[in-house]
């Protein structure tokens, strides 16, 4: 009782800054990590912070951040999607195939987004109405998408992409479009999550599904919509992924689903649902991309890259758990 009285008293006087930090604590920590990393590695290897390298880092990984936005919403609502990597692979292939088959460029951009939303809505229906756990549904979906893609295309390369299709290579004010996409979509999603009733209901469903139902939130419909939005982001991510190079390999990018989930979770999204922000997941995606790149500049053998990444993920997770235990 005394402990609680103390907490209440302390927080009774919380100002705006303290409230912001309470909401975005994890985000500030990741931001600090990013800054420290860029400064430290930049001092050792100045080329690390050269515009060329920064472009490489951001253009090559913005699609992960975009996919992690939708994934964060899914995880906050208490579900998960382990099929997102396969989905992005399928959508990118669809997009590229349409582009080289002479369809208008806008159609090649739009179609994967729509297909993505259809697929994830279907997942959402199975999860929400048929009540199959999301990990089971998406595990099955992973097999279906991955197997389907490879058996249809045989992993062939799609070449001769029309130049005006390659949206990820466009620039606005000298900054590559994936960066704009990443920033704009993150900001939009963050505002959506914070300032709309629908955004809050994502947290409500993940935090306490029964209570959400009692509060009049249509849990099933909302869940399907969350998955549909996730499909929207997966579709955009797929287009950014497909258009970053002159060619597309019609396979599933290895471990993409794990990279996306990891970005969400390290960004502060609780795997148990109910907490987290999309700002955090985007920052985490940037951090991981930067770590990967910095290892090359620090002359770490490429073969050790994954081990170091794994160690860093583990360290972040453990630090986060320690922080949570201190608070909770």
């Amino acid at each position: 009782m005394s402990v609680e009285t103390a907490t209440v008293r302390r927080s009774a006087s919380t100002g705006f800054a303290a409230r912001t930090f309470a909401t975005y604590g994890q985000e500030f920590i990741i931001l600090a990590c990013i800054v420290v990393l860029f400064v430290a590695v930049g001092l050792i290897a100045p080329r690390f912070i050269s515009p060329t390298n920064l472009t490489t880092i951001f253009v090559g990984n913005a699609y992960i951040a975009v996919a992690a936005i939708g994934m964060s919403m899914v995880i906050i609502s208490g579900h998960i999607d382990v099929s997102v990597g396969s989905l992005i692979g399928v959508l990118a292939t669809i997009s590229g195939t349409l582009a080289v088959s002479g369809y208008p460029v806008w159609f090649a951009w739009l179609a994967p987004v729509i297909v993505g939303m259809v697929v994830t809505s279907f997942i959402g229906v199975l999860v929400a109405y048929v009540r199959i756990p999301s990990i089971v549904v998406t595990l099955g979906m992973l097999s279906i998408l991955k197997g389907g893609l490879i058996s249809v295309t045989g992993g062939a390369w799609i070449t001769n992409l029309p130049p005006d299709y390659l949206i990820a290579q466009f620039r606005l004010f000298g900054i590559p479009s994936p960066v704009w996409f990443m920033i704009a979509l993150t900001a939009l999603a963050a505002m959506f999550m914070r300032y709309t009733a629908f955004g809050r209901s994502i947290y409500a469903i993940g935090g306490n599904g029964e209570a959400a139902r009692v509060a009049g939130i249509p849990v099933e419909r909302t869940t399907v919509t969350i998955f549909a939005i996730h499909g929207l982001f997966a579709g955009i991510a797929a287009v950014l992924f497909a258009t970053q190079l002159q060619v597309i390999q019609s396979t599933v990018p290895p471990n993409l689903e794990l990279t996306v989930i990891t970005a969400s979770v390290v960004g502060g999204v609780s795997i148990l649902g109910g907490t987290g922000t999309v700002v955090g997941s985007t920052l985490a995606a940037i951090l991981f991309a930067a770590i990967g790149s910095s290892l090359i500049f620090l002359n770490v053998s490429a073969y050790w890259l994954r081990a170091v990444q794994g160690l860093l993920i583990l360290a972040t997770v453990l630090a986060d758990m320690a922080r949570r235990h201190r608070i909770g």
Partner: protein
Amino acid sequence: MTLSLRSFMRHEAVLGILLVLVLFVLAQQSDKFFTTANILNQGRLMTEIGLIALPMTFVIITGGIDLSVGSILGLCAILLGVFWQNLGLPLPAAMALAVCVGALAGLVNGLIITRFKVPPLIATLATLALYRGLAEGISQARSVRGYPEWFFVLGQGEVLGVPTQLWILIVFAIGAAAILGLTTFGRATYAVGANETAARFSGINVDRTKLLIYTASGLVSGIAAVIFVSRVSTTRSDMGTGVELDVITAVVLGGTSIFGGRGTIIGTVVGLILVQALKNGLALSGVKGDGTIVVIGVVLIFAILASNLFSRNGDG
């Protein structure tokens, strides 16, 4: 147990019907399907996944998950080669050591989960990357070959006309079923999965139970690695990539609840056979390797869907 047994029977019934249906259809497609040689060969192919699925059943019953098993398999395979070729250890010692490393990797998972209270999905997601990374780093993309002839008995030989590793799988499956169904440890596993707090308050050592299970998961992944290497005669660092999904599919298909507290080894074995029969039968009917994965995905979703619908009817 009757009620959970009844719901299991319901799921088993669905699975059984599916299995008969699948076997019937596949037998129509190819006359090679129901030959002894083919069946035994399939047993050979499913051993690694089957072995790992046994401790995975325990893991999922406790409400956890272990995504790192494929990476542990890769790491142990690489270390087997390194211990034997680079460090010059006798092969049996290298095998034992590789299995020990697997157990150690599992123990680390268990410690992260029990000591730091990291959710299993996150903990093993992190170690999935870490262990695979270690495998890649240690191997530097070099593969190890040239194992002595006797070593291949494990993965390519036969005992009494049955593939060696299938015997191992059978022994392990019986052992696992006995532990889960009959012993105090099995009871503890179910109790931890159904209500961890109540289990702790009943004097069950929850942390020790989980620690043992995750360690066993790593250990068995190590054994599977040795068999894998013996079967394919070589080691590479990407061995076992994606195995976790096949394993989890078999376990979940077998009726183990992903939320914990419910599941059996028999179910897992049936799930495993169903998956392998599908893969093999479809391949024999001319479906390309990757097409079979699609079918497995569909079967997984429909099996759970069907048993969900059945159990909802049953609950009235």
